[in-house]
Amino acid sequence: MPKSKSEKILLIGPPNVGKSVFFGQLTGLEVRVSNYAGTTVDYREGQLTLSGRDFTLIDVPGTYTLDASNEAEEIAVEMLNQEPGAVICVLDALNLESSLYLLLQILESGVPVIPVINRMDLLDQKNYQLDVKLLSRELKLPVLPAVAVEGQGLGELTQNLEKILLSENKSGSETYRPDDNLQIDNEEQRWRQAENLYHKVINKEGEQKVSTREKWGNLLIQPWPGFPLAAVIMSIFFGLVVGAGMGIRNFLLLPFFERLIFPPIIYIIEAAVSPGVIRNILIGEYGFLIKGLEWPLALVFPYIISFYSGLSLLEDSGYLPRLGVLLDSIFARIGLGGSGIIPLLLGYGCAIPGITATRALDSYRERLIVSTVICLSVPCIAQTGAFISLLAEQSILVVLALFIFSLLFLGLSAGLMSRFLEGSRPETVVEIPELLWPRIRVVGKKIWLRIKNFLVGGELHMIYAIALAAVLYETGVLLYLGRLIQPVVTGWLRLPAEAANPLILGIVRRELTVLPLLEMNLTSLQLFVAALVGLFYVPCIAVFAVLNSEFNLKVTGLVLFITVFTSFLLGGIVSRLGGLFL
């Protein structure tokens, strides 16, 4: 057997069963997990070392069956065909019947399989008994119970993996292969077999308990009181994001930088560097030692913390699919399914995870609409932080007005696109996961992961971008480029000429369309117009790269055109209309 084939281990299982939790714990890699189907949209590889030998563990996106009816299932089938050394099939204790169907399908492919039943704790809470030993006997291979988030069952799993992968004699691994009478050749037979197995091993005779958790899970999805509760939950969410973000900024990070960090930097630079271009690049208008720290760390970072804390809690609770169902009939008006809410919400953090999350949507058409709408009218959290810094000084109402514009356009553009794109709205068939209390350790780890991503990814890029801006500004290149679009900026948008700079810088990072406006002494109307243009203006360069890889060059070009066109059109109209009233 070629070496490379046998050294792959696949993690396969239905969506939202905790495959990525196993993956994270077995490889030590940090991965994003949450409580809804479709968190993992692409397969991921990691190193796993067993008794000194390296293996590649592959986290396959969740699949209910191997019938290859969607992209995730096609990936799973393709990987199974490459003859992996072993497959860890993660079964869902709560939905064992359909998990068994998937297991039977995998067993039929003839590869060595280790079945692991995850979420055993939830079964206990329901007072159901599962006879794991009987199931092992029936299947003629060891089945392991586990609670992955708590790390239970991982020891046995690695032991069994070692048995399969490290045993030299072939007969050792042979026992893990399915026996021949499991050959089933049609779907219905297989379902019957799964059903029979399930009824043999489960005992639901214990006293049935309905936990408060379940009651809430049910209430939250009833139209009443689900709708008012959704309004309350989302208001609390956005209130906390804005409130906590402003708090961290005004009382913690801004004073820290302004009092402790900047004075010594300015003192040292002024002593060491003589006035001129170099000094200005370091501490001038776009001086990257000042702005390069202040903008990403004092103005944007607080909102990264508050937004991702809130979002991670929502994700882990299992509330988002419920929100999706409540919003489904409203989203139907704009040609989308309710599950579109998840990529949109992720887009309010950053457009890139938002766009990749659209892979979990059913049709290409819906993916295209949601991705375009995210690029056009969903500001990322960094830009939102910049908006709040810019506008909240005037009034928090201006920020609210901006977000109303954003929502209106979100609906309008999605509605228009769904009218012009061929195809009809996909049918919603979506699992509603159990409502779970978020686990502090899991949520904490996820928030930390996202903050770290910002610090080593986003924030560094922003500092580079500001450094570049400083050089371009001080050498006069920015002024020259600005002159090219000046007629539009001064004539059509009625903004000062220097407002052309952020529009050029905004191509690099979305929040840079807004932050440079801070020191321009604009009137209220000008502020609003500039913010509006910034909102609908092109997303950053990284987003274009993602659009290009997820779709194609044509889509990328179209998004570029739509965003530039809409932002200038709308900005001009608002500045004229506002001019009449103010």
């Binding site: 239905p14 209910y64 069956t65 019938d67 009816s69 969607n70 709560l94 939905n95 019947e97 359909s98 169907y101 998937l102 329901k126 049609n186 779907e187 379902w191 049910n218 999805i221 009833q222 139209p223 689900g226 699919p321 999706g324 169902v325 409540l326 489904d328 009939s329 409203i330 139907a332 309710g338 009809s424 049918e427 919603t428 068939v429 979506v430 699992e431 509603i432």
Partner: protein, 112 residues
């Protein structure tokens, strides 16, 4: 493999819903004389019923929606929104367009 079951397409959906409308009109006039299959979107909340026939959709079977399974409607979203169903303690939201195609055992008149 899938051809054996009823294939769900937008076209036959339209035909079916037209048929049903006709049927409904006829139903009103002739009172109890005609009877027809009860569908999932008409099932009362929290009432159990067995599934007789389903459209072809890859995600229905894995979510527990299969022939002979006992199903109940937990909630119905307004404005034509999805129907929330429970099978074997597992919850799923189904589009009305699909719920209309899921036929249940028993007769719509018998249910009343």
């Amino acid at each position: 493999m899938a051809a054996r079951r009823k294939i769900y397409t937008a076209k036959n959906h339209q035909q079916r819903s037209q048929k049903r409308k006709k049927h409904r009109r006829g139903h009103k006039k002739s009172g109890r004389q005609t009877s027809r299959q009860l569908t999932l979107d008409e099932l009362e909340c929290n009432k159990k019923c067995k599934i007789a026939c389903l459209p072809d959709h890859p995600r229905l079977a894995p979510l527990g929606l299969r022939k002979g399974k006992s199903i109940q409607v937990k909630a119905r979203q307004p404005w034509g929104g999805p129907v929330l169903v429970e099978v074997d303690g597992r919850r799923a939201a189904l589009d009305r367009r699909i719920a209309r195609l899921i036929e249940l055992q028993g007769d719509s008149d018998a249910e009343k």
